[in-house]
């Protein structure tokens, strides 16, 4: 046996595949139910600083006061303007499925008219047609396809207004 040969470094490959089911809780849960059943978008509001909380939550982390429960929320129009976008060209894994998402795709950061930001896919895939400040509106999946997930919103569409 050749004692001078470099040692062989062994490893053990593994693909972790564990099922989870995360509770949305009463705030985000109600938000998802409203989106699925009524196609409505809401945000809770801090009673002290008055800012909108999206996702809706029980507490304003800054003021540390409790936010009211639905229906004492603000209904959002689903309309707003594009602040910025990102064209994703590198393959990205969807951490919920472990599968690689088809790319390229564009997602954007949208300032909703009520003054709160929201991130989602954009319908328009031609970057040259996108402009900062462009008007966009939410497009939902058809009712029978909605599952109580944020992705019940299909994408945001450029609109002329």
């Amino acid at each position: 046996m050749d004692k001078k040969a470099s040692p062989e470094y062994l490893g053990t490959p593994n693909l972790l595949n564990l099922p989870f089911n995360w509770s949305a809780g009463p705030y985000l849960g109600k938000w998802l139910t409203e989106l699925r059943d009524n196609g409505k978008l809401w945000a809770s509001r801090c009673p002290k600083c008055q800012r909108l909380l999206l996702p809706p939550r029980i507490i304003c982390g800054i003021c540390q006061v409790r936010a009211p429960e639905w229906p004492d929320w603000v209904q959002l129009s689903g309309k707003g303007k594009l602040i910025e976008w990102e064209k994703v060209v590198a393959p990205q894994m969807n951490p919920s499925t472990g599968k690689i998402e088809p790319e390229p795709y564009i997602h954007g950061n949208i300032l909703l008219d009520e003054g709160v930001t929201f991130q989602h896919y954009l319908e328009e895939q031609d970057e040259t047609k996108l402009k900062k400040g462009a008007r966009v509106k939410m497009v939902l999946k058809p009712r029978h396809q909605r599952e109580g997930l944020v992705t019940d919103i299909l994408y945001f569409r450029l609109v002329q207004e």
Binding site: I83, E86, V88, P95, S96, H107, V116, L149
Partner: protein, 386 residues
């Protein structure tokens, strides 16, 4: 009133992209032995051990249990800390808290990352809220590309300035025996030739994924004076946490970085950081972050960071050296990265950094760690006890 504490030993492994020759606890053991040797102590002198690394990166649960034999925590108290990208910054704070409280006299902190064993990018995506926005998160490259384009527009800096930051990092890393990437880059063009990831961010603008470990030994004032010839005094530390929301609508988020620095400055009478601090070792995962964060840390006025780099002010031999170790752009074992900043700063204060020791006298150092949702940790170390 808390006790004063000092760092009395530091140890690091060398860094590279893969260490198939050792398992995780063996990697940690290398850093532990180096720190004990540096402090001229044995494991019997250590009262408690705190450990930390990123969750999920290596897919192993209860790392602190698996490390017991190898880091010497058999029948000793301690715990594991994991605060995302700031883990390496929070872990020394944990050791400082333990010794400053008077509960323990001598505490060792051990941190590592072995990124080659998992898929860091996939693991990082799980940082985002699993119900709200995990499906849309794209990780660090997009973040720093946006930061670069924002800064170019705001300040008039160019891609050449980012390249100068990389050149500085590489020059320093080439002198640091523990650094990972040593590329011998010579010119701005050498950097600008590198592959474009997302404009204006090139491959050489980003940090690598590294494997390595770091350990430090912290002692109460009384013990430090008794055990150590060159104690490095811990003057202050701060952790700034905010709401866990990535999408606040701002193109960049500098609030936490600024708050961390200004808190340290205010509490320690620092009115002119470049004069009052001798060396900074900051957590800068990308060239553009180094530039923008000089401004967030008030090392200069807004829009002037690229001028500092142009003038060579933050070079190892410059007026205000930043990251003489080569920094995170050259070496990034994520969970350990923040603590390497502290270890490197301690070496600079002691004058023991070797080839990458700065030329100016080192009295006080400022170190940071940064992570998800822009959490920021900062520390102030000092040569003198008062």
């Amino acid at each position: 009133m808390a006790n004063r504490v000092a760092i009395i030993g530091v140890g690091q492994t060398f860094h590279t992209s893969k260490r198939p020759d050792v398992c995780i606890p063996e990697l940690c053991n290398e850093a532990v032995r180096a720190a004990l040797e540096d402090a001229e102590l044995t494991i019997k002198d250590i009262d408690a051990i705190v450990v930390g690394n990123m969750e999920l990166f290596e897919g192993r649960y209860h790392q602190d249990l698996w490390q017991v034999d190898y880091v010497g925590s058999y029948h000793k108290p301690g715990f594991r800390v994991t605060t995302g990208g700031t883990t390496g910054g929070t872990l020394p704070c944990t050791a400082f808290f333990c010794a400053a409280s008077g509960v323990f006299d001598v505490v060792m902190a051990v941190t590592f990352e072995k990124q080659g064993e998992g898929d860091s990018r996939a693991a990082l995506k799980t940082v985002a809220d699993p119900i709200w926005d995990r499906w849309i998160s794209t990780g660090a490259i997009g973040t720093f590309a946006r930061l670069g384009s924002w800064y170019m527009k705001e300040s008039g800096a160019t891609e050449e300035h980012a390249a100068l930051v990389r050149l500085k990092a590489d020059k320093n890393a080439c002198l640091n025996p523990y650094a990972h990437l040593k590329l011998n880059l010579k010119t701005v063009e050498d950097v600008l030739r590198s592959e474009m990831l997302v404009p204006p961010l090139r491959k050489l603008d980003m940090c690598p994924t590294s494997e390595g470990a770091c350990a430090i030994i912290v002692a109460s004032e009384q013990k430090a004076k008794k055990l150590s010839k060159k104690p490095v005094w811990v003057k202050d530390w701060v952790e700034v946490h905010n709401e866990a929301r990535y999408n606040r609508g701002d193109p960049v988020s500098l609030e936490n970085l600024e708050k961390a620095a200004l808190t340290i400055y205010r509490r320690n009478g620092i009115t002119n950081p470049r004069r009052d601090i001798s060396v900074a070792e900051i957590y800068e995962p990308a060239t553009w972050a180094e530039l923008v964060w000089y401004e967030a840390y008030h090392f200069c006025e807004k829009g002037e960071a690229f001028r500092l780099v142009e003038k060579g002010i933050t070079e190892r031999e410059g007026e205000f050296p930043v990251n003489p170790s080569g920094g995170v752009i050259a070496t990034n074992p994520i969970g350990a990265t923040g603590m390497i900043r502290v270890a490197e700063a301690a070496l600079q204060i002691r004058g023991d950094a070797g080839a990458h020791q700065v030329s100016r006298e080192v009295k006080r150092t400022f170190t940071t760690a940064w992570g998800g949702s822009s959490w920021t940790v900062a520390h102030l170390l000092s040569k003198s006890v008062d």
